[in-house]
């Protein structure tokens, strides 16, 4: 592997990893904020328990997103200095604004929320969480604006070979970003929905297995109370069944949201990056049909080997244009167009290193684009179907006794993560060989583009890149194990693991921390920190 390939692997690994944490942060943050609002308004104890429990898991995950996020900002300069020089005038601004206007807000107000349970008035404490969550949404917006400019460069003109921003409004309202932002946010909510559903299912199942909850003659659940296990009372049942239903509803709504926004995104992408979409379909020839299953050697990068076994006529046209008859251009039509517009060989320029003068392969890696696209939709749809099934199966007020269904529900947590990762890998690898894609559509600026081969840092050796790839991958692997172990531990522990006071005086829990009671425990409001460390 040369420096370019190592740098690409590193960017891919660090980004996909970071984006395991981020959707859960955004989605779960929003859900916890809504639950805490419900507690604030109703004062019902189960909402406090849900806030504490899901809030604890939220924080265990949040910190990993923070820790891995810094790498993202640094590695543009470290590994991709030519890219940074080329795009800095337009790409740096959304990154800087993300830190200044969004991440500052998120970090500061989350600190207030974690430590301010007793320091702040309940309404202000709740507001801090909302402010932090809104900060995370803005953070997503700014980052996607930056990414969308790589997908669809707008608002610039070329000066001395570099794009210079001339229209900030165009950059910050890039149509690619305006559909990608809701798509990503719904994707994040889908992760949170599956997370709530799977974990709540596990706890309901455990209550049934231990004989705490039973099902009465009328087919309805009879919640019980465990004499020996702290916190496993009737309220605990309410916590889990409500969490499960919230999770299922969130999962279904967010799948619908991703489908609608994804459709809009697809239609844009057919205009903006036709090759990416042709590669997503392994569509070699022009046509109207959507391939459900194609065989042949996708990896051979030779279109003529590929046969669509099952193809639904008209669907591809619908995805691209909204009708069932328009012929969509296939790879074999697009390749000559790309060669004509952007050249057949990389220029003889030292920034291409050893690759200068090589022939350009305009076809993205079809194995990745074809299957990435289908995994995104498949995992997303599967999670939504499962959520629908879960609501049906729990209509009695608890889950069936089946251990296998429980395992499936827990395993199902992974599906939306998979959908998110597959979607990003698809869209980023589908953009290759460009790091900034040219846009042949009438609204794009066709001559603003950059080959990935020109983007890597010329002064950085392959050895340095390999050292960082190995180091970061190793560190990330270790931390993933630690994070998952901690999550599992706190999940198994149940609400009481996040709310030890339940074990001491379960009956008083709500009086202790009722929203109206500013002090809690009868102490002055600012006497003690809510010690989180």
């Amino acid at each position: 592997m040369d420096a370019l390939e190592i740098a690409r692997w590193q960017f891919g690994i660090t980004t996909v990893y970071h984006f395991m944490m981020v959707p859960l942060t955004i989605g779960l943050g929003l859900v916890v904020a809504i639950i805490q609002t419900a507690w604030h308004r109703t004062g019902r104890p189960e909402y406090l328990r849900m806030t504490k429990f899901w809030g604890k898991l939220f924080l265990i995950n949040f910190i990993m997103g923070v820790a891995t996020g810094i790498v993202q900002e640094f590695q543009f300069g470290m590994a991709w200095s030519e890219y940074s020089r080329f795009v800095g005038d337009v790409f740096g601004a959304p990154l800087a604004l993300e830190a200044l206007l969004a991440f500052f807000v998120e970090s500061t107000f989350l600190g207030l929320w974690i430590f301010g349970w007793k320091q702040l008035k309940p309404a202000i404490h709740l507001a801090c969480l909302w402010v932090a969550v809104i900060g995370s949404v803005f953070s997503a917006y700014f980052i996607i604006v930056a990414n969308s400019w790589m997908q669809h460069p707008v608002g610039v003109e070329m000066v001395d070979g570099r794009p210079v921003m001339t229209d900030a409004w165009a950059v910050f309202t890039n149509n690619t970003a305006l559909v990608a932002v809701p798509h990503t946010l719904f994707g994040a909510l889908a992760v949170a929905g599956g997370f709530l559903l799977g974990i709540a299912w596990y706890h309901l199942w455990r209550r049934r297995r231990d004989g705490v909850d039973t099902v009465g003659a009328d087919g309805r659940v009879v919640p019980g109370e465990s004499a020996t296990i702290p916190g496993r009372d009737r309220g605990d049942h309410t916590v889990w069944i409500r969490s499960l239903r919230i999770g299922a509803v969130v999962a279904m709504i967010s799948f619908a949201g991703t489908a609608v926004t994804g459709d809009l995104q697809g239609k844009l992408m057919f205009e903006q990056q036709p090759m990416k979409m042709a590669a997503a379909e392994a569509a070699c020839h022009d046509g109207t049909g959507f391939s459900v299953l194609s065989i042949g050697n996708l990896g051979a990068q030779n279109c003529d080997d590929i046969v669509a076994l099952i193809e639904v006529p008209g669907i591809l046209s619908y995805l691209a244009k909204g009708d069932f008859t328009t012929e969509v251009k296939g790879v074999n039509t697009l390749l000559p167009e790309y060669k004509e517009n952007y050249g057949t060989h990389l220029p003889d320029n030292p920034i291409y290193g050893e690759r200068a003068g090589q022939e350009i392969d305009y076809l993205p890696v079809m194995e990745v684009t074809y299957w990435g696209f289908r995994m995104m939709i498949g995992f997303g749809g599967l999670a939504a179907l499962a959520a629908f099934g879960a609501l049906w199966l729990t209509r009695s007020g608890t889950v069936p006794e089946s251990r296998w269904l429980m395992r499936l529900a827990v395993l199902g947590i992974m599906a939306p993560f998979g959908a998110n990762a597959a979607g990003w890998i698809f869209t980023e690898m589908g953009r290759q060989p460009f790091v900034v894609a040219p846009n042949p559509d009438p609204n794009g600026i066709d001559q603003v583009f950059m080959f990935t081969a020109a983007a890597v840092s010329p002064g950085v050796s392959a050895g340095e890149l390999l050292a960082s790839l190995v180091t970061l991958t190793g560190v990330y692997a270790v931390l993933l194990v630690v994070e998952v172990k901690l999550l599992v531990k706190y999940v198994r522990g149940g609400v009481v693991s996040a709310m030890p006071e339940l074990a001491h005086a379960p009956a008083d829990e709500n009086e202790d921390q009722a929203p109206a009671d500013k002090g809690g425990n009868g102490k002055p409001a600012d006497d003690v920190l809510a010690f989180a460390y």
Binding site: I60, I63, M64, V66, A67, I70, E73, F74, F76, G77, M78, S81, S84, G88, D89, V90, G92, A93, A96, L97, L100, L101, F103, F104, V105, S107, T108, F109, G111, L112, I114, V164, M165, A168, T228, I229, P230, G231, S457, P458, G459, S461, E464, L465, A467, S468, V475, V482, L486, K489, G493, V496, S497, P500, D527, V528, L529, F531, A532, Y533
Partner: protein, 349 residues
């Protein structure tokens, strides 16, 4: 002189100063986890002084980096790629440190806590050292060619200046943390921190003073020399105030030292942002490394609105958590209560 690039040079100097001021003490507190705190309760005192704020402080680093990318892309690209390995160390250090803060209290064994304590202490040290080295090198120069790329291999950045800058930020952070702990804690920790502060001030400020003086000797202007003199006065004032027991004023005086010190350094190198040690013609300056006036104008509007807001709500955070933390106010670590384990315990008992 171009107006907007000059404004952004100042803005980035402000961001770095803000970073060193705020994260300075939390990096220092992190380093003191092993050297200063004597037992688990004291470590928790230390942690909880910075608990609500360290993450917000760290965003100053991200903002400084992001603003450099947006305002001076060529500076950002050359500096970050030339310092590839040291910045990798900074990243790994910051990752472990952040995770350690959150995860330390979530395990039940001493071994678990001890491991994360080391992660905090070493992470804080290497982050401070690496950032200091990078800042020093951007003032003294790197072997950059005409394209702004590093010549001479992965370690070509290494020089005495890198070590000096690293020690400068480590030393300052430790001292700043002692001033902060004297201000934010009570009981034994408070008094010990103040004693250490008085005793160690001359040693801990030596490297940062040496860096500032070196820069003055290389590029000093009359007004930046004056800033250095004022900085030394502020340090002396901090020492006197701490001895007299005025912890708040000592903290402010040390803050003034930092602001004057970074002002003298950034002021001296202006308008060069990253000199090339190979050829003065390859120096990156505010003119040849900056973004277009359009981008800088846009960023100026955002910063004029955003930065005061950040300072306001971060100040409010410090106000909310203004009470001193003491060993007495640290509750017992509530042992983790998993439902399953509790059940096993009960059935056995």
């Amino acid at each position: 002189m171009e107006l907007l690039p000059t404004i952004w040079f100042i803005a980035i100097a402000v961001l770095w100063t803000g970073y060193l001021f705020l994260e300075g003490f939390d990096l220092g507190v992190g380093m003191l986890m092993k050297a200063f705190a004597r037992n688990n309760t004291e470590r928790r005192v230390l942690l909880n002084t910075i608990g609500p704020v360290w993450d917000g402080n760290e965003v100053w680093l991200l903002t400084a980096g992001g603003a450099t990318f947006a305002a001076f892309p060529l500076w950002y690209a050359s500096l970050f790629s030339a310092l590839y390995l040291p910045l990798l160390v900074v990243l790994v250090a910051l990752i472990f440190r952040a995770v350690a803060f959150e995860y330390r209290g979530k395990g039940d064994t001493d071994r678990w806590r001890a491991r994360w304590d080391w992660a905090i202490a070493l992470g804080s040290f290497f982050a401070a050292f690496g950032v200091g080295a990078a800042l020093a090198l951007t003032t003294t120069g790197l072997p950059l060619n005409a394209n702004g790329d590093r010549e001479g291999g992965p370690f070509a950045w290494f020089s005495g200046y890198a070590v000096l800058g690293g020690l400068a930020v480590v030393g300052f952070s430790l001292l700043h943390a002692l001033a902060f702990l004297a201000l934010k804690t009570d009981g034994d920790v408070r008094h010990r921190a103040r004693r250490w502060f008085v005793r160690l001030l001359p040693v801990l400020l030596l490297p940062i003073a040496a860096w500032a003086l070196t820069i003055q000797a290389l590029d000093g202007k009359p007004w930046t020399w004056a800033a250095v003199l004022l900085a030394v006065t502020a340090a002396a004032a901090a020492w006197t105030l701490a001895r007299a027991g005025a912890e708040g004023k000592a903290f402010v005086a040390l803050g003034a030292f930092l602001v004057l010190g970074t002002t003298s350094i950034f002021g001296a190198v202006f308008p060069v942002v990253l000199p090339s040690t190979l050829d003065g013609a390859f120096d990156l300056t505010i003119s040849n490394a900056s973004s277009s006036d359009y981008t800088l104008g846009l960023m100026s509007i955002a910063a004029a609105f955003g930065l005061p807001l950040v300072i306001a709500y971060q100040a409010w955070t410090y106000w909310v958590f203004r009470r001193r933390v003491s060993a007495a106010s640290i509750p017992d670590a509530h042992s983790f209560l998993p439902a399953v384990a509790a059940k096993a315990f009960t059935t056995k008992g």
